[in-house]
Amino acid sequence: MRGSDILYAGAALLLSMATAMATAHAEGTIKIGLIMPYSGVVADTSTQMDGGVKLYLQQHGDTVAGKKIEIIRRDTGGVAPDVAKRLAQELVVRDKVDILAGFVLTPNAMAASDVSAQAGKPLVIMNAATSIITTKSPYSVRVSMTLPQVVTPLGEWAAKQGIKNTYTMVADYGPGIDAEQAFLKAFTAAGGETLGSVRMPVNNTDFSPYVQKAKDSNAQSVFVFIPAGPQPAAIMKTLVERGMTPDKVKILASGELTDDSALKNLDKSAVGVITAYHYDHSHKSKLNETFVKDYRAANKGENPNLLAVGGYDGMHLIYEVIKKTGGKVDGESFIAAAKGMSWESPRGTIEIDPETRDIVQTMYIRRLESVDGKLQNVEFDKAERVKDPVKAAMKK
């Protein structure tokens, strides 16, 4: 008797689970699988990105075009392409998600792109910034940026300002080499000259030999790219220690060098550093003011950075596509609707290039200034509608 009771109970449980699952992917729900490093040494990037996603849902509700949006979060724990791929497979096969999104790190985005290509699921890249990622799946689309897109306008701008020569210092890995080559290409094409380049180990500890080398080259300007984290502050401190302050040498960099966490370590001696970037929380627009205010309110006063904007814009793209297709989110329909889409983001007007599915946006040239006693990136020039130069060059 007892045995059959258990059997019945088990059967009933299975049945109710099956019903629950059937309702879960009933017509009215669209599932989004977010893959990010929620834990590990880069967990703060996910806090920002997920903060952007949550803020969008909070402002716009979780229902769009009659569909309920359900978010499933998965943690990669850091750079882990194998984990990202497995999570993407599980999300598609077991959780039956309709859209894959997130992706702070390039290797993880590359690995998940294979799953997107094979399963025909749209993949929304909210940060990972290496140019070629979007070529890995015909169903991927990027709302963040690529490094060449950031530094090419900077190289052109520098040459136009009459800066004659430069010394480049980049972290010795894919994005660093991308940045070095794109910057030098733009700078030399516009008449600038390079006096030397150095590639520094990614986990370098003491920057003094590299900074000394740059100083000994007597270049008018140095170009710096190193990933966000503890290093931007460390290299800036070394530059200042060696007397390479912006009043003597033009310091040019991609925005990582002067992001919020680096600025907390710096003082007025860093005023004058020139950076190019697509977003800073001080950007002046009505939408950005609301965005920053709401983000701060929801995140203990933290300022949003590019990752939060990436998450926010990624959700916006998904919502607009759902509106446009009336809820059809298979890979083909999603990408067809996303191509050429243009909207107002907290960073300004952005659009999706119909040819490459990559983002087209304004690059701001900023000067580090002391505003009310606090260091701030102040936008003073810009290059509009910048496409990813690498893919433009690949086409030729």
Partner: protein, 287 residues
Amino acid sequence: MLAPIAGVLFDGIAYGMLLFVLSVGLSVTLGLMNFVNLAHCAFAMLGGYVTVTLVNDFHWPFLATLPVAFFAAAAVSVVFEQLLYRRLYGASDLDQVLLTIGIAFVSVAVAAYIFGTLQQPIQTPAFLRGSTQVAGLSLGNYRLFLIGFALVVTVLLVVGLEYTRFGAQIRAAVDNQRMARGLGIDVNRTFAATFALGSGLAGLGGALAIEIVGLDPSFSFTYLVYVLIIVSVGGLGSITGSFAAAILIGVSDIAGKYYVPEIGAFLIYLVMVIVLMWRPAGLFGRR
């Protein structure tokens, strides 16, 4: 031509001094107590976070936080020593490695949980920033401070271990535990104190390193390779050896990165291989 060489030497020695403060504690515990403590840099990180917290949240001056970083790392390490390490003093190297590398990983997660994974900001006092002109050379103030500080630490350590009663007890306990016990030396307490001293120095090194390299939860591993190289090149348990090895590694790291940046990051491994082939027990090894 002379100026760059002198500059590179100066930077290398300053960097070596930082590495020395970070690694000398491990040399002491590994060499004197035969305990493989891969969590050594976790104690260094603890010191770093103590300094950052005191400076930022309690507005202490940077220099005043250094002793606190030392004592905090020392105190916490004693707790670990009593609860965990003690059980493995007689165990195999592999068991010790597994335990301590585990502790290092846990420390990363704990630091990320409490402080977040972002870089911790620190502002050193104005007189430690910028640089001073000495005989046509521009010497970084913080680096001058590092060199001076490390020299003081070295003298204190050498004097402490060679000429005091406590130092004699440590050496006795290491050389012949049974004999030392027979003479009434409390070997367990001596070891605990030695361990605390080593970890305290690591904490001090962690606090000093923030200005050069910054501080985030991965610190437990950032310096681990450097520290292990210095301990093995210098020879286990030798303070003079650690001092010489730290300068050798510091200078060759900086010189390599300055003169041949393409292979600069590998030069220290080359130096290590050559030294260990020439003297397998390290420069001042006792075997």
